[in-house]
Symmetry: C2
Subunit: 310 residues, 2 copies
């Protein structure tokens, strides 16, 4: 079933201990779409400038991603520049130019309105809420956010959280959102804000899903958390987009299944880790552009091998 994603499509300049790139196609919606495209149909809503040409578009269309929702407007695309020279776990932002993204007003093509799954990537919660309200019939909605929206746009974010099936954020964001430095207590508080599930990404240590006291998907009440591993890697070339790639693998797998059961949720957590592990092996989306399903299944098997008793 098709996933609709709304988020940034951008150019990034990145330096890491492994090297540098002055211009990578990036943005949350790009990473998410590519990762999810190995599992299901993906449709993107975003905005780009005149620097986004046929070459960039073909990165998405080669993966059968529907780009009709990417609006082209005069000006330059969103540009981000970051360094991981000091710390591979946290980017130091050198420069952010919103450019055409500053006046982004998401428009949903008619062809997208039958999408059953919706991913609200990390953008202004006002825009997340707007897209959500225009897609009343979606079956499942997942979303992301970041410190900026948590700190300075709390009321708008609270509105979005109420309508989420799953929120995917990292440890720091979860603790900041809950104002509690214990992850389990923080998760409980975040779940009280609305999401039926909270997926907390721990970077190299994997991810943990916490569940509220809701009936989740087609299944009964799930209350024990679920912890998925990450792959120990001897070189993280570029951590940019790992979280969005996790979300793409996670949600892409769920959208590919007939029903959301606890078993499907667990496997989705593994596929999230799998796609995150591919993303960081090369700069930008290089690795995500040229995978095949066998590589993905082999790595899934490796994730199982490195975490399962039998």
């Amino acid at each position: 079933m098709a996933i609709l994603v709304v988020g940034s499509v951008a150019f990034d300049a990145i330096e890491t201990p492994s090297g540098r790139r002055d211009r990578c196609l990036g943005g949350a919606a790009t990473y998410f779409s590519l990762a999810a495209s190995y599992f299901t149909d993906v449709r993107v809503i975003g905005v780009v400038g005149e620097d986004f040409g046929p070459e960039e578009e073909s990165v998405l269309t080669r993966r059968n991603i529907d780009t009709r929702g990417i609006e082209h407007v005069p000006g330059k695309s969103f540009f981000w520049s970051g360094s991981y020279m000091q710390n591979l776990n946290e980017a130091q932002t050198l420069n952010t130019e919103l450019n055409v993204f500053q006046s982004f007003s998401p428009k949903i093509p008619d062809a997208y309105t039958d999408s059953e799954y919706l991913f609200l990537a990390n953008i202004d919660p006002v825009l997340q809420a707007d897209v959500r309200s225009k897609m009343p019939k979606v079956k499942m909605v997942c979303g992301d956010t970041m410190n900026y929206w948590i700190k300075d746009h709390a009321a708008n974010l609270a509105h979005v959280l109420k309508g989420l099936d799953a929120l995917l954020i990292n440890d720091t964001e979860a603790k900041m959102l809950a104002q509690d430095n214990n992850l389990v207590r923080a998760a409980r508080k975040v779940l009280e804000m609305g999401p039926k599930a909270l997926v907390v990404k721990h970077g190299e240590y994997g991810a943990t899903a916490f569940f509220g006291k809701h009936t989740f998907g087609d299944s009964a009440v799930v209350s024990v958390p679920f912890r998925a591993p990450a792959l120990p890697l001897d070189e993280v070339v570029d951590p940019t987009g790992a979280g969005d790639s996790f979300a793409g693998g996670f949600f892409g797998y769920i959208a590919s299944r007939p029903a959301l059961t606890p078993a499907v949720f667990r496997r989705a957590m593994f596929y999230g880790g799998v796609m995150g592990s591919f993303a960081v092996e090369r700069f930008g989306t290089e690795r995500l552009q040229h995978l095949d399903r066998k590589e993905i299944e082999d790595r899934f098997a490796l994730f199982r091998q490195l975490s399962h008793l039998d």
Copy 2:
């Protein structure tokens, strides 16, 4: 089969956000022994002062731990005082008084010489090597160390590492020992120093075992790492001794099995996490003193549930 452990038996004063204790029975050998005692016979070598009386001794003997190797000498026992008020993941040491530990010279009772398993807790590598040399017939040796020995006693530590089947340390220690800030590369370098396996403890994120290109135990070559979860807890009352309790559960389980297979190693990693999770639920060794095997098996089942796909 019996495990012989050499290490500190101490008194601790601890403050955490959950409260404070002015005098807890502690020390690496104490935590290790109690945790391992639920799986196998345990014998301790250590030294205590006149402040260690029948009440303290009975904490160990009630768990059938053989204390004949605990030497009683005039003076005060090792005393450590620490605070976790700023950071539950890392103790701030307020005071260390070595006392009788300063002139500790391990003596091995005759009754201990048939021990098949040896754990060298975190003490001076010169003493670790001494005990190791006096137990030439042990089947398996595991050890721990810390930043102080890694930085200032490298040559002595290198000698100990050559004789270890498994080294159990945390992320920071592994990276410091290898002088590499990537965990996988660091693990490779540590394994080249001698240990057949390296178990890296990640605190609330669990632990990862890395294996060298050796035949390990009775099994064939193992090369894929193994990652075991930790239990997400809504209150860590006192993190003191979590690593030693992990080691006790890990090694105690191994010693209880007829042969060390990859499957036994994996389960041992889970039992390590299980015992660590109990240890931090109360101050000092309070929780470890009064467990039963059913509680341990129930928690093992919970660890499986929170990490396994099926």
